[in-house]
């Protein structure tokens, strides 16, 4: 029988095919279950070490207890939450120059940025695709000005629904296990009896 001679290339083809299939499955799997793709749980390195614990953390834990919307001012007014202008950092940091060596170095960077007129290039942590229009203001208003106790939360609690406990983070990272995919949006919209028409988010 000649079968034996043909078996070797046949096995190689089979091995190769299953290898390619395995790679495809792994790539698709990672892309599907990560958000954003290939970066689940990543905290990007920021140009200045900004500890949210010190600024927004509770006073009992050594923070200043600043509300989210004090710095991210547009969050209760418009679509984007916005990162504050360097000028706004200087409201406090004109006086506050830091107590530890690292703090002094980092705050000096903020001052230098203000004096040189160069904005700080913060790295974005939470991102939805370009074809999605997310309006922060509408979501905050729904959960703060509603009629039931579940929709009368303080602003900082509403933020942490999607962003996690940012006040307890030294480096901002996505909330573990939190997806910013369309299914997550739809689940919440359905639970709260909010329209799920495509044009609500896709414009």
């Amino acid at each position: 029988m000649k079968l034996g001679r043909n078996m070797v290339p046949l096995a190689l083809v089979g091995l190769g095919t299953s290898l390619i299939l395995l790679v495809v499955v792994v790539v698709v799997g990672i892309a599907w279950y990560s958000n954003p793709p290939f970066g689940l749980g990543d905290a990007p390195p920021q140009p200045i070490a900004f500890p949210h614990t010190v600024h927004a953390g509770a006073p009992e834990q050594g923070g200043q207890g600043i509300q989210c919307e004090f710095c991210h001012r547009n969050v209760t007014k418009g679509a984007a939450a916005t990162v504050p202008a360097v000028e706004q950092c200087l409201f406090c940091h004109q006086q506050v120059t830091g107590t530890t060596e690292t703090a002094r170095v980092e705050i000096a960077k903020v001052k230098a940025s203000f004096e040189n007129n160069t904005p700080i290039q913060w790295e974005r942590v939470h991102r939805v695709p370009d074809h999605v229009r997310f309006v922060h203001e509408a979501h905050i208003r729904f959960f703060t000005e509603g009629e039931t106790p579940e929709t009368q939360l303080p602003v900082s609690q509403v933020c942490s629904v999607c962003h996690g406990d940012v006040a307890g983070m030294t480096v901002v990272a996505p909330k573990p296990g939190q997806s910013l995919k369309m299914g997550t949006c739809l689940d919440c919209h359905r639970q709260n009896n909010i329209p799920t028409d495509c044009t609500v988010c896709h414009q």
């Binding site: 208003r141 000005e145 028409d197 495509c198 609500v200």
Partner: protein, 260 residues
């Protein structure tokens, strides 16, 4: 706080008699909706993107010649021919009477463009590009459509959403003709029209300017109408949500002067 959605049915009335063919609507639309720039060769290839376009017709022989203009945009048909042919439901009819194109669902089969009798759908054959001087002009509220997907007039859905948020959710009112005009939330072409040839409103609002035209067009046949309203290709039964008002002919061309 108002969270429930008010039942709107958007519609547009275009008075052909008032249209001067100035193309302000075309430019406004191009700027508002991130429509890529058209070059002469794009026009020659018949691949220019114009969500609203002015069609020009000449009537009569020189020197007794008349120019006719008619703005044509997506008719947002109630019974749209483009919708049933889409294999991925990227185009569908929403609860506000709009024919919606969902860019992230579209796979670019171009069936809809072939089935649209008005030729108002545009396929992105290329990745859209703008010169550097126009990069900051792009509207952040509107998706930039990438290569390989279909796009068309949305009745400026981003402006309507903004109107809903500001006027209905925040202030608890209701969108009407007046506050749409005051807050500049009507579609860009309507806001730009210098002769008010384009009118936009809610067909369900009893006080809206456009409502009598729609009532008349929906209840009477074309010959029995009291208004000048007609729909484009009405005999096809598309049930368009755009109504045109006939040209008023003050000095009609005499017999033999026109091509007829």
């Amino acid at each position: 706080m108002a969270t429930e959605r008010i039942d709107h049915k958007w519609g547009m009335v275009i008075d052909v008699d008032r249209c001067t063919g100035c193309q302000a609507c075309v430019v406004a639309c191009q700027a508002e909706n991130n429509v890529p720039m058209n070059t002469p060769d794009r026009f020659l290839e018949r691949r220019a993107y114009e969500w609203i376009r002015i069609e020009r017709y000449w009537e009569g022989e020189f020197p007794k010649v008349k120019a006719r203009f008619i703005p044509i945009l997506c008719q947002h048909c109630g019974n749209a021919p483009c919708e049933p042919v889409c294999p991925v439901y990227a185009t569908y009819h929403n609860d506000q009477g709009l024919n919606v194109q969902v860019y992230n669902r579209c796979v670019g089969t171009r069936y809809c463009i072939n089935n649209c009798p008005y030729q108002v759908r545009f396929f992105n054959w290329w990745e859209p590009q703008w010169p550097n001087t126009l990069q900051n002009q792009l509207n952040p509220d509107v998706t930039v459509r990438s290569r390989g997907i279909m796009e068309k007039c949305t009745f400026c859905i981003q402006r309507l959403r903004r109107a809903e948020l500001a006027l209905e959710r925040q202030e608890g009112g209701r969108i009407n003709d007046q506050n749409l005009a005051e807050r500049n939330l009507a579609p860009a072409c309507v806001a730009a029209c210098p002769t008010s040839a384009l009118m936009f409103g809610d067909q369900n609002d009893p006080n809206s300017k456009i409502r009598p035209y729609f009532e008349d067009a929906n209840t009477h046949s074309e010959r029995e109408r009291k208004t000048r309203g007609y729909r484009l290709l009405e005999e096809m039964g598309t049930g368009a949500n755009v109504i045109y008002l006939k040209k008023v002919e003050q000095y009609p061309l005499k017999q033999g002067e026109s091509h007829g």
